[in-house]
């Protein structure tokens, strides 16, 4: 099996091309800003006699959701940028020809790259999200136990994007694939917001559209599931949720849909790349 060689090569590329360094520096800045915001916000809330400590902690929870939403968005962008030209781009440049002529299965190239991207995203999301959760817990002295489930769900959301982008990259050019993935990602984002609005308006059709979009691309649904882990009640109140949280927690089916989505997109990538003429 050479998949681990390809995965290692993918990671090494990220290090040597300073993608990791840039991401790390920006993440440190992002986390510092987040920590400062939480500290200042919580200090002001505590000094306000009209705000109870519970409400203050809850509002800081919303701040955590907002911070993680931003992190999830950055991770989504990272997932798309990393993988959208992972196969087609290398084919266009000709850098894959010498590698594919080696005793390496095409499937090992696809799975190796997928594993490399996943590992990068896992480290990025795991470290950053954990730092944010710990920051809030330290400042407020309050930690929702299920918060630790949010980072794996955020990773799952990014993995579905990687799978989708690699499926596209195995068949179409990088630019066309980028347009397709961004369009689907944005549509899922908007449809997810509509789903939350549908709950407020009690509109069944709008809600179904949101659910359907979650099946087409479950990134938003997985994020909703992740954000729901940040609230004691499994979902935010209307005031808390805004556009970044979840008024109702998605069911466990979301995980299954996510897994199926990933299996289908990776299957397409494996099949199409396996049959593709260089």
């Amino acid at each position: 099996m050479s998949a681990h060689l390809i995965a290692g090569f993918t990671l090494r590329e990220a290090f040597q091309r300073r993608i990791v360094l840039a991401a790390a520096l920006l993440t440190v800045g992002f986390l510092a800003l987040f920590g400062l915001g939480v500290w200042l916000g919580y200090r002001d809330l505590q000094s306000d006699p009209t705000t109870s400590p519970e409400v203050a902690a809850s509002l800081i929870g919303v701040l955590l959701a907002g911070g993680l939403w931003s992190l999830n968005f950055i991770a989504s962008m990272l997932a798309i940028f990393l993988s959208v030209g992972s196969l087609s781009g290398e084919l266009d440049q000709g850098t894959l020809h010498a590698i594919a002529a080696r005793p390496v299965r095409r499937s090992e190239i696809v799975l190796g790259k997928f594993a490399g991207f996943t590992l990068m995203l896992a480290v990025f999301i795991g470290v950053s999200a954990s730092a944010m959760i710990v920051t809030v817990a330290v400042i407020t002295g309050r930690l929702v136990a299920t918060s630790w489930l949010a980072p794996p769900l955020m990773l799952a959301a990014s993995m579905t994007l990687v799978g989708l982008a690699m499926a596209g990259s195995s068949r179409i050019g990088t630019l066309a694939n980028g347009v397709m993935v961004f369009t689907l990602f944005s549509t899922a984002l908007v449809a997810g917001v509509l789903e939350q609005v549908a709950v407020l308006l009690d509109n069944a059709l709008l809600f179904d559209i949101g659910v359907f979009s979650g099946v087409v691309l479950p990134t938003r649904a997985l994020w909703s599931m992740a954000s729901a882990q940040l609230s004691d009640g499994g979902a935010f109140t209307e005031v808390q949720a805004g556009t970044t949280g979840a008024l109702i927690a998605p069911s466990g089916w979301t995980l299954l849909v996510g897994a199926l989505h990933l299996a289908v997109t990776l299957g397409i990538a494996l099949r199409a790349f396996g049959r593709r003429d260089f």
């Binding site: 850098t95 020809h97 010498a98 002529a101 080696r102 049959r275 003429d277």
Partner: protein
């Protein structure tokens, strides 16, 4: 008892490749024997790169069969025994030369204990030993081609497929590559050389195939392919007619001898008009089928009383053959 014939390094049998409605390769058959340097020629767009990709398993044939080193093309076992320099020689430029070779050594399943030594040895071989730890992004085109050559050899391959290996090299670099190819042949490595540089092909190749419009139009040992050659003859008055008669008589004699022995008679006894032409400076340009036929025609001219002053071969024969093939689609 007869000695067993070693299996061909590459055996392409009746292979066709279509890209949608475009016929890129049309019922091509060719054979590269083990241990030889095989030249693959053809005009741009003739189908050379497609054949190379089919042999490597980077593309799949629409129909036909390709065996490489006795196994189906593209199988992992075969690819472990092949080295390949792509025409574009594009590699990941964030790597150093040594890192590129080490990575390919791992992909090629070179044992860990040999990787470092083999890397250093090959970088020295291609003249890049001193720049092993420099990033490829700082390399010139020629240096990239050299490191690409080293990459092709990293797995100690039995078959090396070189797609335009000297296109970015200066004359010294080209000579070095020719020496390298000769060295591979001495080691028993088969080299499949796809090149536009006919002089290069002529200098190092044992056999060649010429492809045009997706079909192989000539294939064989260089000496055989160039047997149909032209000579420039400076002779006295009446030479053209006498030469045509001589050529017809010689061809008829050959046909008669072939028929008597039951072989294919080949060309008819009539000399084609284009076989004897008069050039602007009054010389005769005779296209004969073999060296023996040239000698026979000259002898008949002399016997007919036509004075012959000078006979010399015309130009670069492989180039002539290539141009003729490119223009007419026929060898």
């Amino acid at each position: 008892m007869t000695a067993a014939t070693p299996e061909p390094a590459i055996q392409v049998t009746d292979v066709t490749k279509r890209y949608g409605g475009i016929l890129a390769v049309d019922r091509v058959s060719l054979t590269a024997a083990a241990g030889e340097v095989f030249g693959f020629l053809g005009p741009n767009g003739a189908g050379k790169s497609t054949i190379v990709k089919l042999v490597l398993g980077l593309a799949s044939a629409t129909s036909g069969n390709i065996q490489v080193l006795g196994r189906p093309a593209g199988s992992l076992e075969v690819r472990a025994r092949i080295g390949y320099l792509p025409e574009t020689f594009r590699f990941h430029e964030w790597l150093t030369a040594a890192q590129l070779l080490q990575f390919h050594a791992r992909l090629a399943r070179v044992p860990a204990r040999r990787r470092a030594g083999r890397t250093a040895e090959l970088l020295d071989l291609v003249g890049l030993g001193a720049r092993a730890n420099e990033r490829l992004s700082t390399f010139s085109k020629g240096m990239m081609q050299r490191v690409g050559l080293a990459q092709a050899l990293i797995g100690d391959p039995q078959l090396v497929i070189l797609d335009e290996p000297t296109s970015a090299l200066d004359p010294i670099g080209r000579r070095e590559v020719r020496d390298l190819i000769r060295g591979l042949r001495r080691q028993g490595v088969t080299v499949f050389l796809n090149s536009h540089l006919l002089s290069e092909v002529e200098r190092v190749c044992d056999r060649v195939a010429i492809i045009n419009r997706g079909r192989v139009v000539a294939q064989g040992a260089l000496s055989e392919l160039l047997e149909t050659q032209e000579v420039d003859v400076r002779a006295g008055p009446g030479a053209a007619e006498a030469a045509r008669r001589a050529l017809s008589a010689e061809a008829a004699a050959s046909a008669g001898a072939a028929a008597a022995s039951g072989e294919d008679a080949g060309r008819s006894g009539e000399a084609a008009a284009h076989d004897v032409q008069v050039t602007a400076d009054g010389r005769l340009r005779i296209r004969a089928a073999s060296d023996a036929q040239v000698a026979a025609v000259v002898r008949r001219l002399v016997e007919a009383g036509v004075p012959v002053y000078d006979v010399r071969p015309v130009g670069d024969s492989l180039e002539d053959l290539f141009v003729r093939v490119a223009e007419t689609g026929d060898a």
